[in-house]
């Protein structure tokens, strides 16, 4: 790659990175906080579904309560802790990265890393130079040579 190309690539990469890091935390309205939390907790009223996706009237009421907490100035973690105290640890849709929830995180990361390492090792092994196979170094015993010639002749239709 020429230096001009390298500089162009670097400029392009910095442009992309600048765009990626230009994130700003906007002020969150209480309803946005409630929406965000509703996506992070399981609904106590609909099995296997987040509060966000639960159509129950009681779920709507719980969202309203969360919104009122947010309007009172509670931050997300305080609201989540209050919900956890009331409904238990299983209300969190995101398992904690410690204690009994740690395994949920470690196994996928381990599987991906392990898979990539195994694939890399296999690919390296498969790309290693093969031992040179030279016909000249192979000693063919005379009787084998005769038999090969006979069979080749038979294949070619010679007597």
């Amino acid at each position: 790659m020429t230096s001009v190309r390298r500089r162009a690539a670097l400029a392009l990469a910095s442009g992309v990175i600048s765009c990626l890091v230009m994130t700003s935390a906007a002020y969150a309205a209480p309803e946005d906080v409630a929406n965000s939390i509703a996506a992070e907790i399981m609904s106590p009223f609909c099995p296997g579904v987040t509060l966000e996706n639960c159509p129950s009237d009681r779920a709507v009421a719980l969202r309203a309560r969360i919104e009122s907490w947010a309007a009172d100035g509670w931050d997300e973690e305080r609201i989540l802790t209050a919900l956890e105290d009331q409904y238990g640890e299983s209300i969190r849709a995101l398992p904690s990265p410690s204690g009994s929830g740690l395994g949920a995180w470690l196994a996928p990361i381990g599987a991906l890393a392990g898979g990539l390492v195994v694939a890399a090792l296999l690919a390296r092994r498969w790309t290693r130079a093969r031992p040179a196979r030279s016909v000249a170094t192979v000693e063919i015993p005379p009787e084998t040579r005769t038999r090969l010639n006979d069979e080749l002749d038979a294949l070619r239709g010679r007597p």
Binding site: S18, P95, A119, T127
Partner: protein, 664 residues
């Protein structure tokens, strides 16, 4: 007229033929007597015919409103009519298992008939596997999950069909998923047959290629239709919730997609043989596991059928399938050795390998997240939840890498490629991706995930476009064809390759639609008539409620005028209805769809005084998900319209002894 009385005898006959087919095919495979194998495949056809008769009997019971049949009474009512009488067939556990059995037996009969001119011994062993699996499912619908149990006294009316299932999507979504799950039985059976016979050349997957593609396509469309059903029926504004049953359908799709890619390496380079048979075993195992998850009641989900005794049947079957399959692979390991090596780390083969690792890691991640609550509870006694935020956190980075590989893979040549050549191929798509990221950044997009997703999509689309351009250049320059004709010629000359690229394009469009969720807006208000609420750039004015009653339900319709910047956009009429037979209220969503965004409005309740609890969403780019599915389907059609490649078979192992009538 109800033919329900024929149901059970037909199933008994089908099971008898399944066992006969199992015995005959096994005898044919072991003794190498062709006549026995042929008799076995005929028994499979008879098994399919009797299962079809049982299915017709159940369908006739629904059509005749025969409430003496417990299953019919539990899933339909007098007021149910038209196509929903058909979807009621698979709306419960027993009926859905009968549909499984029906598809399995019919697919088995067709596959064995079509393969009769290949290797009869391979067909005989495939018959053993298929008849064995069919016998299991037929036993299920005869003993623990019979749809033909009768009621006494006979109720005057049935309980009705779940209102959520009374949707056009439910007519197609479950049968398509089952087609996918069951369709994988065929490549699985032929892979096992190849292992049993030691005939481990390409014939097992070339002879079942269309089945694999067919099953994968049906599963893909079924999954997207499931998303569309959830979006339009469930009223929570989304299409995918990482629900355990959604995951159950996604798992075999992931491993099957890995298989469809890795099998290309076996075809081209005679490598990854162990991996390919393992992948097809995993795919089928996951399809069975998904069926177990849905029906065992082990996990809580809105989709899960009620807890029943059949979980106890599935676990030993699944164990036998996986342990038996893996043991057979281990026994044949010597004949599954790769015949070639990689020439370079920078090659298409390596790209496929990385792609496979990513797909399998994605499948493991989804599987692990789905079952982790059970594992954690067993290990620690603590009940945990693993919900959408977990799946989004761990799956999305893998998905991003897969999309990246979707773009890079086709640019890398087989065997080896120099870094300079790769750079020449990659710089244009890379520039396109960077340009999109910069343009979106400048225009105010601040979501890192969305920027990355759109940039990757642009990269991949540019890479695919460049492949089409390169492919058609020859026709344009040498034969002086128009661009359109040159493209058509390019695609028609190599339908598998370019059809595959079209499928990739469809996937990219779906990813664009999913990435739009980063800009989703949601608002929820209780509105009195005349009041307004804002969501995104829209102002919603609730005009009031109108009510009416039919024989099935009370219909309550809210009229909502939608304006943007003072201009009238549309009038939406979401409903909140009460179904009498089911004693259940259900919301009917109103959606205004455009390629840019959906305005999605749902009424969750009405007050006595007419006030409406309104939930409104602006869901950007969802339309592209459905378009992506259509493009994928078009690509699959192109792939399937191509000729099936002929297997270049390696010499089969010589038979142990000369049989009386030798099987080839």
């Amino acid at each position: 007229m109800s033919l329900a009385g024929l149901g059970r005898p037909s199933l008994i006959a089908a099971l008898a033929f399944a066992l006969a087919a199992l015995g005959l095919c096994l005898a044919g495979a072991l003794t190498r007597r062709r006549s026995l194998a042929i008799a076995g495949t005929r028994a499979v056809t008879a098994m399919a015919a009797f299962t079809g008769l049982a299915a017709a009997a159940l369908l006739s019971a629904f059509a005749a409103h025969d409430f003496s049949v417990d299953y019919v009474a539990g899933h339909s009512s007098e007021s149910l009519s038209g196509p929903y009488l058909v979807s009621a067939f698979w709306s419960g556990m027993e009926g859905s298992l009968l549909l499984w059995a029906l598809m399995l037996t019919v697919f088995s009969a067709i596959a064995l008939h079509r393969a009769r001119r290949t290797s009869p011994r391979l067909v005989a062993w495939a018959g053993v596997v298929l008849a064995g699996v069919a016998a299991f499912f037929l036993a299920l619908v005869l003993v623990p999950a019979s749809p033909f149990k009768t009621l006494s006294p006979v109720p005057a009316d049935g309980s009705g069909l779940n209102t959520f299932l009374q949707s056009p999507g439910m007519l197609l979504h479950p049968p398509l998923l089952y087609t996918g799950f069951v369709g994988f039985s065929i490549p699985f059976a032929f892979a096992m047959a190849a292992l049993f016979t030691g005939r481990l050349d390409d014939s097992w997957f070339t002879s079942t290629r269309r089945w694999t593609l067919f099953a994968w396509s049906a599963l893909s469309v079924g999954i997207v239709l499931g998303g569309a059903w959830a979006y339009t029926e469930l009223g929570w504004g989304g299409y995918w919730a990482w629900d355990p049953v959604e995951n159950a359908s996604f798992l075999p799709w992931l491993t099957a997609t890995a298989f469809l890619h890795s099998v290309v390496i076996q075809e081209k380079r005679r490598m990854l043989k162990v991996w390919n048979v393992t992948l097809i075993l995993l795919t089928y195992g996951l399809a069975i596991f998904g069926t177990f998850l849905t029906r065992s009641g082990i996990l809580s989900s809105i989709h899960t059928f009620s807890e029943g005794p059949i979980g106890k049947w599935f676990l030993p079957f699944l164990g036998l399938l996986l342990i038996g399959g893996l043991a057979t692979i281990a026994l044949r390991m010597d004949t599954l050795k790769s015949e070639n090596r990689f020439d370079s780390l920078l090659s298409r083969e390596s790209a496929f390998l990385v792609n496979n690792v990513l797909f399998v890691a994605a499948a493991f991640t989804v599987l692990w997240g789905t079952i982790y609550p059970i594992i954690a509870e067993m290990a620690t006694g603590v009940r945990l939840s693993v919900g959408p935020p977990f799946f989004n956190s761990v799956f999305i980075p893998i998905a991003v890498a897969i999309i990246l590989m979707t773009g890079i893979g086709p640019l890398i040549s087989w065997r080896r490629m120099s870094k300079g050549a790769l750079w020449r191929m990659i710089r244009m798509p890379l520039g396109a991706g960077a340009a999109v990221a910069i343009a979106l950044g400048i225009s105010g997009v601040r979501s890192v995930g969305a920027l990355l997703a759109f940039a990757l999509c642009a990269f991949t689309v540019a890479a695919i476009g460049a492949e089409f351009a390169r492919g058609s250049r020859m026709y344009r320059t040498r034969e002086r064809m128009s661009v359109t004709r040159a493209l058509a010629r390019t695609v028609s000359r190599n339908r598998r390759r370019y059809g595959g690229y079209v499928v990739h394009l469809g996937v990219v469009l779906i990813v664009i639609g999913i990435a739009g969720a980063a800009f989703r807006t949601e608002r929820q208000e209780v509105l009195d008539p005349g009041q307004t609420m804002n969501v995104g750039e829209y102002t919603l004015t609730y005009e009031g409620r109108t009510s009416g009653t039919t024989s099935e339900k009370q219909i309550n319709t809210a009229t909502i005028q939608v304006t943007r910047g003072g201009s009238h956009v549309t009038t939406l009429r979401p409903q909140r209805n009460f179904h009498f037979a089911q004693d259940q209220a259900q919301s009917e969503v109103a959606i205004r769809t455009t390629p840019l965004e959906d305005l999605y409005v749902v009424v969750t309740s009405f007050d006595q005084d007419g006030a409406a609890a309104v939930r409104a969403f602006v869901n950007p780019l969802v339309w592209w998900i459905w378009l992506g599915a259509v493009v994928m389907l078009a690509g699959i059609t192109v792939v399937l319209s191509g000729a099936t490649p002929v297997a270049v078979t390696a010499p089969a192992r010589p038979p142990a002894r000369e049989p009386a009538v030798a099987l080839r």
